[in-house]
């Protein structure tokens, strides 16, 4: 098939395209792109280059994958998924991203849009004041180094045990909000200094805190939506998108440099310096895994603290007891991590280091580590869209376990640079236009709002439709924003 793609691809199934291992010297496995024809045609050249570079990394199994929202990243494409044998493969910070455990959390409320709309402006203002966003922000919780090291190991549980949350929040978080293997000793003092004062902050770029509503045609699977506590159109939800802040960014920076220097000792060469890696079982690989897991746990803690602030603010502004608002966590899921998982490859159960960079875990029904409340139909998946267009809730599938190591898309994926977006619209103009459409926006940087305009992203509906068609996740609910807090 003659597709206008930068490298030759062949269709292997509906919405599955493969680049053979002969496409580039050194490829150990094929590369697979999961995309509709339109999404594939819109993927930038970097995706093809990067997904095939990843296919050259030692110990990779089955294929180097790219989800439908894929776009050019650093080392790995955003949307990249790759699994490496734990016994003989590598771990690469480029397969996780600088924002370790960047992820999504969604809370249901017992409120309707009609109840919230009259106080929406005040609510968004108050949330903007309570959840610091943008450059130079620091959180309300002041920790010393020993306490922050406890957070690295205990994750969201540390926060909940100090009164900033509910035990049920942990049950509704990937890994219970605490991934095993965190090693504070592997974390630099610089990472500690950078991140210690940032717990409870949102960050900038595409991170957000949104008040959302289920639109009239938003429920696609009523039974699963009911299990999420979503009763129907008009219900208000709250969604967070943020990660490990400067702490994780510094760990990424530290280990990128360390792996860059370590690779010659292991005889590893890579096609892109951002793919710097080390054998998973090497001292460097284990140190990074320990530090990366520490950052992942602080990201869970960060989203938990923000959840607490959201509950406080909504109760205050809406003048109701917090218990009357619901505000229960439906789920919290990572989309920038590497995790040790067991998957069947060529009939053999293997222990794998599964890298997901801008890709969401999407475990199917019956899988351990999916909360008991959801185990019957699969792990909740949260796909965040642009600030203008909305988001989606889905569930993982049994097919994802065999097709994509239990992974799916994470967002809409950019199609336009930040500079291009800013040339097309002024931040203030966009904020005003969104206001006229009923979306209240408060941002630390109006220019940052312009960079996140809906036209700078792919069509979220197309991404969601594609993962649904691929059976790597199943569509449950669509959501549209009515209030947005940005850095």
């Amino acid at each position: 098939m003659d597709l206008a793609t930068p490298m030759k691809v062949r269709p292997v199934d509906d919405c599955i395209w493969e680049i053979g291992p002969d496409a580039k010297p050194g490829m150990l496995v094929p590369a697979r792109l999961y995309a509709s024809g339109a999404l594939l045609a819109g993927m930038d050249a970097g995706v093809f280059e990067q997904v095939t570079n990843v296919a050259c990394l030692p110990g990779i199994v089955r294929a180097s994958l790219c989800m439908p929202d894929g776009h050019w990243g650093y080392g790995f494409p955003i949307g990249g998924v790759a699994a490496f044998r734990a016994d003989s493969g590598v771990i690469s910070p480029g397969g996780i991203g600088f924002d370790i455990n960047c992820g999504m959390r969604v809370l249901r409320t017992s409120l309707t849009e009609a109840e919230v709309r009259p106080r929406l402006g005040a609510l968004v203002d108050a949330l903007f004041g309570a959840v610091p966003a943008g450059v130079g922000a620091h959180g309300f919780l002041r920790l010393d180094a020993p306490a922050f090291r406890e957070v690295m190991v205990e994750g969201a549980g540390w926060v909940v045990r100090r009164g900033y949350g509910r035990p049920a929040d942990l049950a509704a978080t990937e890994g219970g909000g605490c991934l095993p293997g965190a090693d504070p000793v592997a974390v630099s003092d610089r990472a500690l200094q950078r991140g210690m004062n940032q717990l409870g902050t949102l960050g900038s770029g595409n991170h957000y805190l949104e008040i959302q509503v289920v639109p009239p045609d938003g429920v696609h699977d009523a039974a699963i939506a009911a299990a999420f506590g979503i009763t129907g159109p008009g219900q208000v939800l709250v969604m967070l998108h943020c990660g490990s802040r400067g702490f994780g960014h510094q760990i990424g920076t530290d280990y990128l440099r360390r792996f860059d220097e370590a690779m010659p000792r292991y005889g590893i060469t890579v096609r892109d310096r951002e793919l710097a890696c080390a054998p998973f079982r090497s001292p460097e690989g284990q140190a990074y895994f320990g530090a990366m897991t520490a950052a992942a746990n602080t990201a869970f803690a960060n989203r938990q603290l923000i959840t607490h602030r959201v509950r406080e603010v909504m109760a205050h502004v809406l003048e109701r007891p917090v218990e009357a608002l619901g505000l229960d966590v439906i789920y919290d899921v990572c989309h920038n991590t590497a995790k040790l998982e067991r998957h069947v490859v060529d009939g053999e159960m293997l222990e794998l280091v599964v890298h997901r960079k801008g890709a969401t875990r999407a475990f199917g029904p019956g899988t351990p580590d999916v909360p008991a409340a959801y185990r019957g139909f699969g792990q909740p998946v949260i796909i965040g869209g642009s600030m203008e267009t909305g988001s989606a809730l889905l569930v993982g599938t049994a097919h994802a376990m065999t097709e994509t190591f239990g992974s799916t898309a994470h967002g809409a994926g950019r199609t336009m640079s930040r500079a291009q977006a800013k040339r097309r619209v002024w931040g203030e103009t966009l904020i005003r236009a969104m206001g006229e459409r009923g979306i209240v926006v408060r941002a630390a940087s109006p220019a940052g709002v312009a960079e996140e305009a809906g036209f700078a992203y792919k069509d979220l509906a197309e991404v969601v439709e594609t993962v649904h068609r691929l059976h790597i996740s199943r569509r449950v609910v669509s959501l549209r924003p009515i209030g947005n807090i940005k850095g």
Partner: protein, 141 residues
């Protein structure tokens, strides 16, 4: 005096700089100014704090990487932004001494822009060009 441009279509989600300096000192100082300008309107930052930074690295490009990473670190750890930078850099062995003039970020006064996470190695380049120096740096935001 050096200059910088923002490049489109290298890093859709982030920010790519092309930096020109008339010499190595100028290149490093211009890179720092570009980074400060990415984070905040420099005119809205005080000039009441001065710092000296000394760095060395195994290679000249790694010195540039470490230098810009240091400025991001100061932004997060102490909320310090330094729009005025004076650098003395050497290629062999790679090292620099810099005098930084700026202030603590006052969020009520400063016009905030982006919050950089890290300096990447993506299409990272530092080289002589004609009589001057050239760098390409992609910042993850």
């Amino acid at each position: 005096m050096g200059s910088w441009d923002v490049l489109d279509n290298i890093a859709l989600a982030d920010c790519a700089f092309e930096i020109h300096g008339c010499d190595l000192d100028d290149l490093f100082a211009t890179a720092a100014r570009a980074l400060a300008d990415l984070m905040v309107d420099p005119e809205t930052v005080a000039r009441d704090i001065e710092r000296t930074v000394r760095l060395d690295a195994p290679a000249l490009d790694l010195l540039l990487h470490d230098w810009m990473s240091e400025l991001i670190f100061l932004k997060d750890s102490e909320q310090l932004i330094f729009p005025d930078i004076f650098v003395s850099a050497a290629a062999g062995p790679p090292r620099l001494t810099a005098r930084l003039v700026g202030g603590r970020l006052d969020r009520s006064r400063a016009v905030l822009r982006a919050d950089p996470k890290a300096v990447t190695f993506h299409q990272f380049a530092l080289e002589r060009r004609g009589a001057g120096w050239y760098a390409r740096v992609v910042i993850d935001i």
